[in-house]
Structures are given as C-alpha cells and as structure tokens.
Amino acid sequence: MKKNILKHYLGVSGLAFVGMALLPQMALAADTDKPKTEQKNATGNGGGGMPREKSFAKISSEKWTGARLADGQPDVSGFWSNTIGNHGNFTDPQGGIINDPNPNRIPKGARADRAPSRVSDPIDGQVPFQPWALEKVKEFQVKFHDPTTQNFVEPLARCAPGGVPKSLYWHGYEIKQYPNYVVFFFDSGTRIIHLDDKAHLPSKIKLWNGDSRGHWEGNTLVVDVSNHNGKALFGRSGEFISENGHIEEHYIFNKENTRYNYEAVFTDPTVYTKSFTVTIPERRWTVTDKPDGWNFDVWFAKDSAGKTTIEHEERICTENNGGFGLGAV
C-alpha cells in the first residue's frame, strides 16, 4: 500500500518554499512516490527542470492549417505548461517572491535579464490598480510572509482552485476537446469552456474559475469569462480581480501546434483604473519529453496498439489534509 501524499505539491518551487529543516524527508517522499514507469519510460530531450525562457515570440492570429477534430475544432488537445515561471510573482515572473525574507531566493541582476511582466499592456508592466486595491496588494505582499490573519494566506496553498489566469502558470495541465467543449484539467481545479453560445450563468452565481463561453477564430480560441468570485489571487504577489470583473481571453496557437500565447484583457471598474492585457507563453509537452514533476508531471503507458500514451496522477489536494508546499501560506 502506498500513501499518495505530498508528491503532487513538491515541485521545484514548492521545495524552495518549504522550511530547510523539512527538506530531507520531503524530498524523499517525493522521490519514493514517483511511479516507477515514469523513470523506466522516460525518454527524449525535454524536461530536466523548470523551463525558464527569458523571452518568447509573438504568435499572430491567423487561419488554422493544422489538424482538426471531427467537429471542426483545431486539435490542440494534450499536455501544456507555461514557459517562464510559476505563480511566485505575477509581474516579475523570474523575480522571486516579493519581500522574501531569504535573500538567497531573490534573483541577482537587472530586471531586463529576466522574463517580462505578464502584464504586457500598459507598457510599465504593472496592473493599473485603483489606490485602495493597490494598498491591499502591497499589504498582502508584506503579510504573506507572516500571515497574522486568514486573508493573507494565498488560497491556492489551501487547495482552492487556482482560478483565472493563475492556473495557466502553476503546474502543467491537460487540454481535452469535445464537440461544444474545450476542457482544462488543472491540478487546481477543472475549467469547462462551453462553445455552444448559451448565455452565461445568472450573475448571482460566483465561481473560482468563472463561467466561460468560447469560440474559435482560426488559430485562436476566444473565451469570455464572467461570474468570477474574485477570490483566486494571481499569485503570491496578491493581485486580484473582483466579482465585477470581466476577462476576454485569446489562446493563440502556432502553426506547428507546439506553443500558444495567452493574451487576455482584464476589465474591472471596481479594482482597476483601466483595462490591461495579460500575456502568458505556453508550450506543449509530448511523449518525447521527460516528465519533470512539475510542468509535465505524468507517466507513460502503452495502449493495445503499442503506442505510448500519457497518464496523469489523480488530482487531489484538500483530501491530503495540507496544501502544496505546506509552508507556503
């Protein structure tokens, strides 16, 4: 009998976050819980730690020339992750956690040497918060490191769904497609995007992942997200949207079907002074890549035709009686 604990929540950043005294036994737990098949079948030249691109190319919206599913959708199903960093810092993705008390975790060097802010417009890379909201974010960035009240705990650390957009730059995830649906299977929740033009849920219903309505325009999946509960922060840096917010997302896939850029416009008259654009680069992972325990946390299997397939651990968090990283509160 094996106990399925912690493994899922101890990727590179999780470990960096755990108190030093806990490191040895946790690293051990992570190692021993890895399915053996993962080691045995690991091939290819990918993986080997977190990808940390410092820059990435723009992908233009254009017509789709790649494979399609029976219902006509561009076939973008498979495993994906972001390429620049996790949710430690929203606007300086490789900048470490703001106000981190451990100076060894703060990157040295110039800002220009690191990946750009996920806020691509306005040009200063900052969320155009109203003064009251900026004050709340700054307060969170200080108290996050020693939360004296519940509201300074990052909700993802308590297993809450990552929400929009954070789920796209936490662990790797899978996209599956069906007639009228694109479904994102995150380790921190499931996001069902409806393609059938039905109206949004009544506005009284508020959700961690919002309510998503999408359609394809060539190589671009366009998604309208409303019904936010405003509770999912954008990262350990505390940025947020409120219940009145609205997000218009563009998932723009490249010709080779190996990358997409997420470009989304965030609007919220109660929190921001104006709309702003978030851009997040994402890459595909395949059977030729090596599972890395974070962005591509899978194992391989063989189907009846002898073809290698990719399988993923059960998505569990709150049931293990502790969020990822434990110390990351």
């Binding site: 094996k2 098949t37 705990v153 297993c159 769904p161 479904v183 039905k198 849920l201 959700l207 509960n229």
Partner: protein, 258 residues
C-alpha cells in the same frame, strides 16, 4: 390543409409499417439505432444524475431525520460485512453527521460519485471517458485504449479505472483505492483492498443502467452487487456549476474588500 394532413398520415402509416417489419425481424437492431454512438460504441457524453436515494443508505431503510425511506440498491438487500467490519460500519453510522467525508467536500470515490445526488458530466473520446463530478469538480478518467492498471500504483481516492467494451456495455475494472472514502451517508465503507467492476449500458438514449460488483476481502464475506439508473439532464442550457465545497471554510476571507 386537408391534403397536407392526408399526406402526413400516409407517411406515418408507411413509417409505422416499416418500423413493425423491422421490429419483428430484429428488435435488438431497432433499439440499437436509437442510442448515440461514437466510433461505433455507445456514446455516454452528457450530464447524468440518479434520482435514487442510494447515497442516503445503500441498504433498505425506513425514513430517518433528513433521510427519505428507500428499498436500497444492494442486490439481496444487505451488504455482507465480516463481523469486525460490521461493528465498524455501526460506529460510522452513529457518527455519520460528523465523519462522512462528503461533508468536507472531499472526492467521493467509486461508486459513490456515480449515485451522489449531484450531476456529473461524461466527456467521451475513443481512448477514454473523463467524468467530471460537480462536487469538487473531481475528475476520473476511464481508459478504453487497452492500457493496463499501473504496476506500482498509489492508493487513489477514485481508484484506477480501465474499461473495455463488451458489446454495447462498458465494463470498467477499478482498483488501487485508499480506505478513506465511504459508500454512502450511512457509513458503509471499504478498505484499500476494495475492487469494483462497473457495467455501464444504455436502457435508452437518455437512461443509463449502472451496475457494479463490489469486493473487498478485508471487509465483506463475498462480492455483492448494486444497480442504479442514471438519467440524462435535458433541461435547456443545463451545465455543471463548480462546487468546490471545501473552500467554504475560508471563503469569507477573500477577496480584499474596499
């Protein structure tokens, strides 16, 4: 108007005649054509839910506070507990208002996730069926691509599901469970030796008959069977609404308030 009606009637009569002719020659084939199919197999895509009281108590029971009466869904009526296990079930029952894992919004396990009284959605492809349960948006993948159970598996909340088709019935072997889930609100339980074989089959295009054979040598004296009916949600624009109930304990602390 009259002409139109007559034409319609003759068409209907013709259709009825053809239907009868085919029905008598091959009833199975006629029924067969009415169910949705994907790659030649029954297509269970859709949103499903039981109307049974199974989740209150799998066994026959009279009404109790907050529990409707029900004849139960266990073939033969009672679960064949081993003596020690029966004592544990009794304890679970007494403490059910606090111990039921579902109260915490935890992943329900198999088969409880199938007859828990909230909708779940089946997303089907040739190689797999992915079940998304409204409660917790828990995800179970049933592989139908011939992949075996993993050799060195963890103990999972939902187990590991490998399916194959026997005619129009989806047969799913589920094992590698932990011992943390309950089978219902009444404290019926299992150990980590739990093993479930499910059979999913259409009764008609909007109704699934779900059967499961359940065994666990640490808890039951012999395998036993359950049987529930699942109905398709056909309300206009019906959709799952995320129900991450475990977040309610800290819901009030977010988002920041002006």
């Amino acid at each position: 108007m009259n002409t139109l009606s007559i034409k319609k009637s003759s068409k209907s009569a013709l259709a009825l005649g053809l239907l009868l002719a085919f029905s008598f020659s091959d009833v199975a084939v006629a029924a067969d054509k009415k169910i949705p199919r994907l790659e030649g197999k029954p297509d269970f895509s859709g949103i499903w839910q039981t109307t049974s009281a199974a989740d209150y108590d799998l066994e026959p029971h009279s009404n109790r506070k907050n529990t409707p009466p029900s004849a139960g869904i266990v073939e033969g009526g009672l679960i064949p507990y081993l003596p020690d296990a029966f004592a544990k079930k009794q304890k679970n029952f007494e403490a059910r208002e606090t111990l039921d894992p579902a109260l915490k919004g935890y992943t329900l396990g198999v088969p409880r996730s199938v007859y828990y009284p909230e909708p779940f959605q089946i997303f089907q492809r040739k190689q797999d069926l992915t079940l998304v349960h409204q409660l917790g948006h828990s995800v179970r993948t049933i592989y139908t691509n011939g992949t075996p159970h993993p050799e060195d598996a963890n103990d999972w909340w939902l187990g590991d599901s490998r399916g194959h088709w026997e005619g129009d019935t989806l047969v799913v072997d589920v094992k590698h469970f932990n011992d943390k889930t309950w089978l219902d609100k009444a404290g019926n339980f299992h150990s980590d030796a739990f093993h479930v074989v499910e059979k999913w089959a259409f009764l008609d295009a909007n109704t699934i008959e779900y059967k499961a054979t359940i065994e666990d040598p640490k808890v039951y004296s012999r395998p036993w069977n359950i049987n529930v009916i699942l109905y398709r949600h056909r309300e206009k624009d019906f959709q799952l609404i995320e129900d991450y109930r475990f977040t309610l304990d800290y819901d009030e602390f977010y988002p920041p308030k002006q």
